[in-house]
Symmetry: C2
Subunit: 180 residues, 2 copies
Amino acid sequence: MSIQHAVLGLLQEGPRHGYDLKHLVDRYFAPDRPVAFAQIYATLARLESRGRVALDAVERAEGPDRRRYAITEDGRHELVRWLDEPLAPEPHLQAALFTKVVLAILSGRDVTAIVDSERHAHLARMRELTALRRSAPVPIGLLADYALFHLEADLRWLELTAARVDDLRTNLKLSTEDHP
Amino acid sequence: MSIQHAVLGLLQEGPRHGYDLKHLVDRYFAPDRPVAFAQIYATLARLESRGRVALDAVERAEGPDRRRYAITEDGRHELVRWLDEPLAPEPHLQAALFTKVVLAILSGRDVTAIVDSERHAHLARMRELTALRRSAPVPIGLLADYALFHLEADLRWLELTAARVDDLRTNLKLSTEDHP
DNA sequence: CGTTCACTATGAACTCAGTTTATAGTCGCG
DNA sequence: CGCGACTATAAACTGAGTTCATAGTGAACG
């Protein structure tokens, strides 16, 4: 969902063609891993089919032609709507970490080993990000902070879960039995 | 990705048919929002086409026939692999909240208003979850904790970002100018 | 001088997850 | 008997993202 809004947002400043947008999106929103060109073109096609952008002109420059797109009134509305409404809450209650712990318990594997290995992977990633944060410009630094806060949240949850594995095990066992 | 593994995990205990799996998945992994039946059947079809499950038998019971699926050796391998490897780190560096703040700055809207409204939505959601956590059984309580930790992480990041909006604005402005 | 490389620019075709919609059988109820 | 509730599945579609194909220009190279 977010790349659509990113593209709309960039088109607000004026019409652009896909190739250009790709670089802008990379610069502003994806400083770590660039988006694929094809994704931008696909996104533009979808936005066009919903009437949120429209073909503005076809420029012939050096090299192949450029198809320049402009944001429509509809597109502007959608963008403002998205900015003004709070984000839909993530379905945190479907967390992959939780799935792992439950499956580990159900399949009788060593839960603490699994929790430990997740913890180590998290700590390693946090060290990377801390380094990045120090060396990078403000926007990337902020993104790194975002990731760090969430990795820390995962860690806290892992501690809590590790402490409650026995509790959890009993609860899951119980509900295994009472099913049709 | 996670629903595939959830289904595989449940099939470890013995062959099941889709309808049954749907309820088990709901019970163990999605206590908040149930998954659609069709998604389970689609998942089973995909798992089958990759050789991770196989049709075990077609039972005729009261009502329509039941297609019972069993996990294969391949499926078991995949499951163990997934449990033993740490989860792929989430692409946190593409956070929707970040996109919003950047777009708010680029389009000259009131950033603090937007940040405030996100904060309020988060606080409201946290109150709901805290209530849920008190009344619910252990597994759901743990999921609520997971969500709470992450909402708190978002809040911390929002504070930090609010404090650095000016910094961010300057940085973004600069890079607007130096592009081809 | 041709050919190979790098860069600009786009789109078709495919995969994969998830949703909407359709189908079909059984059971019980009024 | 007709209708709604429950069991059970699948086809068809949507939307995001990836892989692969194409096509033009300019510069470098032997």
